[in-house]
């Protein structure tokens, strides 16, 4: 990497407030190939999928999720081409709307650790009708040895930690999102 972060800048100007994505994004934001960071079934590919639920346990059919991740070797991708995927370039970013059953699915690779002792994860943003601003969180890999030393994971209760760690299934990983309720997903701020 040619540019190395030396410090973290948060800025002082007032942020433009967010607003809900509303119900009508479906013909504007999703696009062909949006959720396929790598071609499904290609060597090394996994499916990352799950369901999004509201506080009554009902699936949310009008949510939009975005993931952003390192490549399999832990590098931060800085290649364009997410909107017109060529099938060969890994851009690290993808978008998936939920279907009528609240289900989403990405085709991607497992993220690598960004450095010695770092913990790999997918960064996740959640938008939905009824949700007035974005939510952000992380999807950690199941039983990754470095999880035990991750500052965020160790700061959480066992129940909270469980909401941020994916489970392995036959095709890759499953990660459900609960916007509210007993199993409410732990969301993050970075301020």
């Amino acid at each position: 990497m040619s540019t190395i972060p030396t410090q973290i800048a948060s800025g002082s100007a007032s942020a433009t407030p967010g607003q809900t994505i509303g119900p009508f994004f479906g013909y504007a934001l999703p696009y062909e190939g949006d959720a396929d960071l790598v071609p499904p079934g290609s060597p090394g590919s996994i499916r990352l999928h799950g369901w999004v639920y509201d506080g009554a346990g009902n699936p949310i059919p009008d949510a939009l999720l975005e993931i952003w991740q390192t490549d399999a070797d832990g590098n931060v991708p800085q290649a364009e081409g997410s909107l017109h995927r060529d099938g060969w370039t890994f851009t690290g970013w993808g978008r998936a709307g939920t279907d009528l059953h609240g289900h989403y699915s990405f085709s991607t690779v497992l993220p690598g650790a960004a450095g010695e002792g770092r913990v790999p994860f997918f960064a996740l943003t959640v938008f939905a009708r009824g949700l007035l601003d974005k939510l952000q969180t992380r999807i950690y890999l199941p039983e990754h040895p470095a999880n035990a030393g991750d500052p965020l994971l160790v700061s959480l209760s066992e129940d909270e930690r469980a909401t941020l760690v994916a489970t392995a299934d036959a095709t890759g990983l499953r990660f459900d999102i609960h916007l509210q309720g007993d199993r409410e997903t732990t969301f993050l701020n970075y301020g």
Binding site: P5, A13, S14, T16, G18, E66, L132, D133, K134
Partner: protein, 258 residues
Amino acid sequence: MTATTETQADLSAEIAKIEADAEGQTQEGKPSRQPLLDYPPYRSSILRHPTKDPRHADPETIELWAPCFGHSDVDPLEADLTIAGSNEPIGERITVSGRVLDGEGRPVRNQLVEIWQANSAGRYVHKREQHPAPLDPNFTGVGRCITDAEGRYRFQTIKPGPYPWGNHINAWRPAHIHFSLFGRAFTQRLITQMYFPSDPLFALDPIYQSITSQKDRDALVARYDHDLSVPEYSMGYSWDIVVTGPSRTWTEPEEGDL
């Protein structure tokens, strides 16, 4: 659409009470989150807001970078929403332009901006149930562009109409354009809505009012900009957007930062 019995007067009373409570909180030194995620006047938010405060995380490397988009992703013609059909769309032609800046006032360059909106009659090109306003065969209401070296975006479109939305009896959204923005870091991702000056529906709209301070609400309203109006063609509106959140800084200045 589910039948609702609450009137605008019921909703307006709820809105006023929450705003008064929020002012009280600000005086106690606890500024409320903008917008409030737990905002019952927006009925759809009731089961869709987290009840716990977000947990603080120190951003990791990936979160301090943003996904990269470029000119191979977006055709420059996608910034003109008036050329989707074989004829001109119906409505008041407008030019909307502004800059995307980070919290330190630096331009967010070469980054993706996406918009979507209703047509001039207040109708979206969307399969979900909607009111029976006309569709316009020459208008899809979807646009994209990449910001330039100054962080500037520019769209050519038509002014969207207000539309009814069933939140309560006689609920109408103020005219707006949805904006999706990326910053210099993943932490700065933003989806929001741009409104038009002096809309009489502002006071009545639970989504706009979910931001409980007038100053912050004002930040979502574009300014009529005569210098942006195109002679014999369109009305100009300018609107700048500030995306904040931790980002990386550079050991060497970027080209143009000097």
